[in-house]
Symmetry: C2
Subunit: 202 residues, 2 copies
DNA sequence: CTTGTATCAGACTGAACGGTCTGCTACAAC
DNA sequence: GTTGTAGCAGACCGTTCAGTCTGATACAAG
């Protein structure tokens, strides 16, 4: 049975995730992943049928972790009574974690997955799309509750506004890369919260 | 002298831009570019010393065009008297062009340039960074004027708020890709304008 | 102890890639 | 007309890559 099976497998996934996030998918060779994870060709292709297969699992795992963060944030703000403040606390949750996030990863795997579409397994944008929809659905209902509490239901497109959190994350990743300054992540999330505060409190 | 020189060169650049935007830089082979532009290896390497060289010129040209759009937008809203309305008209300029933009390109070249860093010529993120700074500088001064007109100078980080337009563009490109729906570009720019309106008019 | 199987190692292969080289073609200068 | 050169064509080359294959190793079951 497993000598070191699951460990090797996850080590490959971890190393590959880091490399793909840093350099892109096509620019990351299997040999590179093997060397960085201290394993071999035989081991790699024992665990993954192809490079595309690895990419698919990578995206799936990343999207799952992403949705898990969403759930954690929702649980965190559940206790905030006022719906408007709950929305702001929800975004604030990510503001607080922004700096740590940027020390852990220099970019989002989604960016590579969406840019190098044909390189990841065919339906690999599927998990991304589903994650986006999960964020939209949950955040939009927070926003709807806040708008309803102020008697302003229907005044704004809560779906688009909810998507704007994803947009802020992805855009901020690219902004950080273009300037080399990871502090932009926190700054952009803070701006978004300030904008939301103005909209919901006006 | 030139038989068809400048035409062939720009045709290669045009075709390469489209392919790189669609599929990424590493996934676009020189052979592919040659075939799609109806030219040959000899011609390609006569005009560009390497694939990286092409990438560098591609990014430079794209960034120049990007800054040109900024200048056009600024000129367009110059006549708007009220500083707050001028800011909203500035963003509105892009809202109006969003749908057309998405028919012309399915993504932003910046995304590929920033993701596949090592593949484009060494300083290729330079032009991107300079373009970002140009947008920030010009848009931030519009924002500062609007804040000053309402006697609220210093209340918000106008630099970060200005960067948020870039963030919205790039994030919306990825959102469109993840859902396959190009209408998100317009929706996100519209949301950003609505948020700015709430902030500046409150 | 033997057998079966999951795991891993690494030499090898065929294809694709970026880039080179030789030479052709059209035009300009004289 | 001759010569020089920018522009272009495409065969060719060395390397790198994803993926295969043969076999070793360790452990579980009987």
């Amino acid at each position: 049975m497993p000598r070191d099976g699951t460990t090797t497998r996850t080590r490959i996934l971890d190393v590959a995730e880091r490399l793909v996030i840093d350099n892109g998918f096509a620019a990351t060779s299997v040999d590179e992943i093997i060397e960085a994870s201290g394993t071999s060709k035989g081991s790699f292709f024992h665990h993954f049928s192809s490079k595309r297969d690895l990419a698919g699992e990578l995206v799936q795992r990343y999207a799952d972790a992403d949705v898990a963060v969403l759930r954690r944030a929702l649980a965190e703000v559940e206790t905030v009574a006022d719906p408007v403040e709950r929305v702001l606390a929800f975004v604030g949750f990510f503001v607080d974690q922004a700096d740590q996030l940027m020390t852990e990863q220099s970019n989002c795997l989604y960016v590579a997955a969406l840019t190098e579409r044909q390189l990841v397994s065919d339906g690999a944008t599927g998990p991304v799309g589903r994650a986006v929809e999960a964020w939209r659905a949950d955040f939009a209902s927070l926003l709807d509750a806040a708008l309803a509490a102020r008697g302003r239901t229907g005044e704004v497109d809560s779906g688009a506004l909810a998507d704007h959190l994803f947009v802020t994350f992805e855009g901020a990743f690219l902004l950080c890369r273009s300037t080399g300054d990871p502090s932009h992540m926190r700054a952009q999330l803070t701006s978004f919260r300030a904008l939301l505060a103005a909209l919901l409190r006006e």
